[in-house]
């Protein structure tokens, strides 16, 4: 199984990134191969629709599960169609979130935000 998490830096000790669509990297943990892979999130610099593009990257990397603090409705639509489940991270640590997920201690991400588009417009 492949587990993906948005992370701030290209190392395991790095914290979980607060943004899904604009995270600089994703860490992908392969539970069978027991290895971590870092994927650059090329969507982070998009002018718009970053969530959709980031979700496309996750789908293309054949990820099974995404652990994330939050997710917008467009990306969530992609995951629903792709059959990828989302779980809500607890705290900042990448390693403990993976451990908690495997032991069944993370809950499904149910709160989907409507997006942060047009912020600061008024």
């Amino acid at each position: 199984m492949k587990i993906a998490i948005p992370v701030n830096e290209k190392k395991v000790e790095s914290g979980v990134c607060m943004s899904f669509g604009r995270t600089p990297y994703f860490l992908v943990n392969d539970t069978e191969e027991k290895e971590n892979l870092f994927i650059e999130n090329t969507a982070s610099k998009s002018t718009g629709g970053a969530g959709i593009k980031a979700a496309q990257i996750i789908v293309d990397n054949e990820v099974d599960v995404l652990l994330t603090p939050r997710c917008g409705e467009n990306a969530s639509g992609v995951f629903q169609n792709a059959g990828i489940k989302m779980y809500k991270t607890v705290g900042d640590s990448v390693e403990s979130n993976i451990k908690d997920f495997i032991s069944g201690n993370l809950s499904l991400l149910e709160e989907i935000h409507a997006g942060l588009h047009d912020h600061g417009k008024k």
């Binding site: 998009s46 002018t47 718009g48 629709g49 959709i52 496309q56 992609v78 792709a82 008024k122």
Partner: protein
């Protein structure tokens, strides 16, 4: 380009909502002999509440968005890679279009080697025309949930582009985003409406930067003017910005406005104030046109 023009196009804008854009644009239009009032604040147009126009005509505004035929799509992803707004995704051998993200450029349809994408119309709002005494109104209304009012604003100006015998007053959306740029693009002159607070100065600065960037001639109207200390007046003096007029803080005017009454049409005193403001604006526009040529 030299064009003989008898009328002027005035855009009224401000950095935030509630400063008095509608008060100023509605009353200037009402003080004119013949006027066109265009409500570009398509997310919450309210000029029509004051004018209460008759003979209303409605027209739907739509945009073109792509529609996919997944039987023809071979998953080459040319469209997905092309779209700079990421409105398309290819998931589990199916192409998905995110309507709200699409900016209607039509690029994906042109690019698709399989002809799997076609164009379809999607309604995003409407334009309502109407008459109120000597003022002709165009109101743009964006449907709730739609991302951008720009197509509606473009359509508003398309409809009014040939009018040359009436002065045009454009009630802009608040702020300084794309919709505001679209609203002031063809204006001959911009009126910035400001409030007498420090917060008001911050917002005034936003639109000041915008009209400067667009190289538009402009002036400021100090609304809810405070004689003892008006931070927006200080800002104008500091930056050598033309002050077109001051509308004093006035509870009676506030009340009229809150009852959706047009001050100019109900009270001689306000008619005098706005008629004189209109004269000042006209003089400014004439000066600008003269110095341009």
């Amino acid at each position: 380009m030299i064009m003989e023009k008898n009328n002027m196009k005035i855009a009224v804008l401000s950095g935030k909502g509630g400063t008095g854009k509608t008060l100023v644009s509605v009353n200037l239009a009402a003080a004119s002999e013949k006027a066109i009032y265009i409500d570009c604040d398509v997310e919450e147009p309210n000029g029509h509440l004051f004018f209460k126009p008759d003979d209303k005509k409605e027209k739907e505004v739509s945009v073109i968005i792509p529609e996919v035929n997944n039987d023809l799509c071979n998953g080459c992803r040319k469209c997905v890679d092309f779209c700079r707004f990421n409105a398309l995704a290819y998931i589990k051998n199916r192409l998905f279009v995110f309507d709200e993200i699409c900016h209607s450029c039509g690029g994906c349809v042109m690019l698709c080697p399989q002809n799997a994408l076609t164009e379809r119309k999607k309604s995003i709002g409407k334009i309502i025309e109407g008459v109120s005494e000597q003022v002709y109104l165009y109101t743009g209304m964006l449907d709730t949930g739609e991302a951008s009012g720009v197509p509606i604003i473009k359509e508003l100006f398309q409809k009014t582009k040939d009018i040359s015998d009436k002065d045009i007053f454009i009630d802009c959306p608040p702020g300084s985003a794309c919709v505001v740029m679209e609203s002031i693009k063809d204006a001959d002159y911009c009126i910035l409406v400001a409030e007498p607070t420090i917060f008001g100065v911050h917002n005034l600065n936003l639109v000041y930067e915008l009209v400067t960037l667009f190289k538009k001639p402009f002036g400021v109207i100090l609304n809810k003017y405070m004689e003892e200390k008006d931070p927006s007046e200080e800002f104008c003096i500091e930056n050598k910005i033309k002050i077109l007029g001051k509308i004093k803080f006035d509870k009676a005017l506030g009340k009229l406005n809150s009852e959706a009454q047009i001050a100019v049409r109900t009270n001689e005193k306000y008619k005098v104030i706005f008629t004189s403001l209109l004269e000042t604006v006209k003089k400014e526009v004439r000066n600008e046109t003269a110095s341009d040529s």
